[in-house]
Amino acid sequence: MGRRVIPIEPTTEEVALHEIRRTIHARAVHGRFAKWRWMLVFATQIVFYGLPWLTVNGRQAVLFDLGAREFDLFGAVFGPQDTIYLAALLIVAALSLFLFTAIAGRLWCGYACPQTVYTEIFLWIERKIEGDRLARVRLDAAPMSLDKLVVKALKHTAWLSVALWTSYTFVGYFTPIRDLGVRAITLQLGPWAASWLLFYALATYGNAGWLREQVCKSMCPYARFQNVMFDRDTLVIAYDAARGEPRGGRAKAVDARANGLGDCVDCGICVQVCPTGIDIRKGLQYECIGCAACIDGCNQVMDSMGYRRGLIRYTTENALAAGDGATAICKRVPRPRTALYGAALLTIIAIAITSLAMRNPL
């Protein structure tokens, strides 16, 4: 089987350090997968923002207390000599990611990754304050005015507030969060806590507000080694070219097949809603974070044209070529690659749990 190469198109556009790049104003999208993404945003963020506030036996349940050099995890206490378990946890996380990716592609990127989650939250704020895509494009192109200043200031204030609360929560995993809060309010933060709080707030603000998809495209190593984990049975988002081509606009009443047209009406919505600005009809590209906005967008158009949904859909390369559906895809999940990842994962978990159980706490 030949090695799969996912094309990486070299950037020919040079952008100076003082210019960020042209902002991508993705069109808002509604649909089944958008709903899933928001459900996961709520779920992950409830866990992230809520966990440091839980207490067990009067102490913070999850606390990596750097100052006291101990890690508290729901009543269990770990010291620096237990760092091996952190290493095991990281290995388990990595293997799980490989297994998950081999089966389901970049579901992590589109649904769970903090970068995606925070960018979604920030973009939601931007939409609420600045308006829909057209309004935002016009606002950016307009000359500076008092109105524009106020709108932008409002947005950045909202962004910074979310960033500060996020930063406070994050630092609250490394030093008791209630104490941190009290010290912050009474302005008794030491220089170290204060600088870390500021740093993470700025990093969140910068990554989610400014860099957005650039993180996925340029900074994230996961995007680059996905082609090592993918195979022809990995679930990806794909455009069914056999069904869609030749593309072309037509009236709803027109018989597409009779006129030599495929289902794709070339509306370009799949490109407009894409947060990384790619055209999924060109095939799988490394920039695609698997957010399924194009699926939702296209399905809406298919609905309005009276066509079957799924012109762009989750599928595997093999299934797309053979015209197979979900059942066939599921049957292909157990295969040598996934079995190997799964076995390695179970082994490490078993070793780690055994070791933990036999550990003599201090």
């Binding site: 100076a16 100052g67 650039q214």
Partner: protein, 77 residues
């Protein structure tokens, strides 16, 4: 001289940050700052070390990028 792009800057800053995290974990595992002959709080030592590791990491990545530049054409004899 080629202008520095934001992308290339991130290729220097971000790997340095990741390396600093890894180095910090190792530091945390091996040393207790209070046991060392440094009259500063733990947080101070951890923070200063993190920044130092980050700078070192950035230097390493920057050097890699520099070495990656295409060789200049040698002038004809």
């Amino acid at each position: 001289m080629k202008r520095l792009t934001l992308e290339r800057a991130m290729w220097v800053v971000w790997p340095g940050f990741l390396t600093a995290i890894a180095a910090e974990i190792v530091l945390f595992t091996i040393f207790d700052p209070l046991d060392l002959d440094i009259r500063s709080s733990r947080e101070a030592v951890y923070t200063a070390s993190f920044v130092a590791f980050w700078v070192l990491g950035m230097f390493s990545s920057a050097l890699t990028l520099f070495l990656q530049r295409p060789q200049a054409e040698s002038p004809p004899p």
